[in-house]
């Protein structure tokens, strides 16, 4: 959308700001004064399509597609540097999460494909055992997301293995049933 010479208001989603605002964590987003503290503090800003500050200006103007398709959210390492420094106390990291979820929901998370796979595998494991099983998580993830690259992960895996830091067997919690009931209820309630 940004390639266009002139942008028409009709092409924008003028409710986008309100949509993000209504999410938990999005409350302060309207107070953004575009100071750029977030971008300056972000360890990943240089790699991003749009550094965090610009993401907020795009949200404000209604560039929904541009925001959801950008790689920005997927490069966020959740370090919260931006969030603690933001002079308006915007929960920037939480907004990034919200955008990730929105992007996945709308099938715009191209860059987030790997993150989605990782997350989904993780979710699957928790459903299965109640806890994460790092060995299985890594194996599954590598095979799904990086099948052609799987060999490159072996040295790190071996290092953990030989040092006795990669348990082969998963641990299953006792009351898995209870956890599943909770999770089923969440499915019922739907996300906020």
């Amino acid at each position: 959308m940004l390639e266009k010479e002139v942008c028409y208001e009709a092409t924008l989603d003028l409710d986008f700001l309100d949509e993000i605002y209504s999410l938990p964590g999005g409350k302060e987003i309207k107070r953004c004064i575009q100071c750029g503290t977030c971008s300056g503090s972000c360890p990943q800003a240089c790699q991003m399509d749009h550094a965090p500050r610009k993401i907020f200006s795009l949200i404000r103007a209604g560039f929904r597609d541009e925001v959801l398709r950008s790689n920005t959210v997927w490069l966020c390492s959740s370090c919260y540097s931006c969030a603690v420094r933001c002079p308006k106390e915007i929960k920037i990291t939480d907004v990034m999460y919200a955008l990730k979820r929105l992007a996945i929901k709308e099938g715009k998370a191209k860059r987030g494909k790997k993150a989605t796979i990782l997350s989904k595998n993780f979710v699957g494991l928790v459903n299965k055992y109640g806890r994460n099983h790092e060995t299985e998580l890594m194996t599954r993830y590598i095979l799904m997301a990086e099948p052609f690259n799987a060999l490159s992960f072996i040295p790190q895996g071996m290092k953990l293995l030989v040092n006795g830091r990669l348990p082969v067997l998963p641990h299953k919690i006792k009351n898995l049933d209870q956890l599943r009931k909770i999770m089923t209820k969440v499915e019922e309630l739907g996300e906020i």
Partner: protein, 291 residues
């Protein structure tokens, strides 16, 4: 001092050496950790990207379980610390979130009041045990050992922590109390990129390189950390950083609990020191084995 203990998945797997060192020093520090029965995954960062409510719900089960103990909930994992705290925070600050979480917990026959205090084990060691007590337990001089204290992100941010988000000092004063030397470490709170290691590996490795380079520049013999993810990233991936960026880092990355153990004269094997990705060598080895 008795606490409810929430180890988290990593501490029971890739970070089991963290658990070993905690077990080795806790009695001497007078810290009793009673493990939260049947705890489950904290919900973790990765979950958050896909399902927010689900993440909080899973997390909330732990908090609900912990409430029966009437004690602070202590975790050694920064990620768990953040997620559990965040769950608390959202539970208490967003009525809609509280309502839905309440309903979900109810489905599992649980309830939560929102009053569990979640703390990091470093907080307990520094603020409950205190450096005076720790200093009195030091048996082995670590004089000359230059240590870079690496705090990472999640215990100091976002502002729910017990220390300054830009310039935390807890581990600095701990190092002093142990008789070692704190090196200037400007990047002490910069992100190591752990959460990106799976998905955006190169970028994560780049962040690791910066951290390792700053430690080396400042003459550190080792880096101490308090987070399983940071430790794994900087330790296990150090060789990958070296091969990608043609660097020659050989900096052991250990848990602060391991350093306490060493100073207290606990055998390195008992602290999991032998199971590090980057082994102790050179000057650090001399200092630890000497004296």
């Amino acid at each position: 001092m008795k606490y409810t203990y929430y180890p988290g998945c990593s501490v029971r797997a890739t970070a089991n050496i963290y658990q070993d060192s905690i077990d080795a020093i806790a009695p001497a520090l007078g810290v009793e950790l009673e493990e939260l029965d049947d705890w489950n995954c904290c919900g973790a960062t990765a979950y958050m990207s896909v399902r927010e409510l689900m993440s909080f719900a899973i997390s909330a089960r732990n908090l609900a379980l912990a409430e029966k103990y009437h004690r602070d909930l202590v975790t050694p994992c920064s990620a768990c610390y953040l997620v559990l705290n965040k769950t608390n925070h959202y539970f208490n600050d967003y009525p809609e979130m509280r309502k839905k979480l309440g309903q979900a917990l109810e489905a599992g026959g649980l309830s939560y009041s929102g009053n569990i205090n979640v703390r990091h084990i470093l907080d307990v060691v520094i603020n409950d045990v205190g450096t005076e007590k720790i200093a009195s337990l030091v048996k082995k001089k670590l004089k000359g050992l230059k240590v870079a204290p690496y705090y990472g992100c999640q215990i100091v941010r976002p502002e729910m922590g017990f220390d300054d988000p830009d310039d935390p000092k807890s581990m600095d004063i701990l190092i002093d109390a142990l008789g070692a030397e704190t090196v200037k470490y400007s990047l002490k709170t910069k992100c190591c990129g752990a959460s990106l290691m799976g998905t955006e590996e190169k970028m994560a490795l780049k962040l690791c390189r910066e951290l390792l380079a700053d430690a080396e520049r400042n003459g550190a013999h080792c880096i101490i950390t308090l987070c399983p993810l940071c430790q794994m990233n900087l330790d296990i991936y150090q060789s990958k950083v070296n091969s990608l960026f043609k660097t020659k880092f050989k900096i052991p990355v250990i848990y602060f609990t391991q350093l306490i153990g060493l100073a207290m004269g606990v055998k390195p094997e008992k602290l999991g020191m032998k199971r590090l990705g980057v082994k102790v060598s050179g000057e650090m080895k001399r200092i630890i084995e000497g004296a």
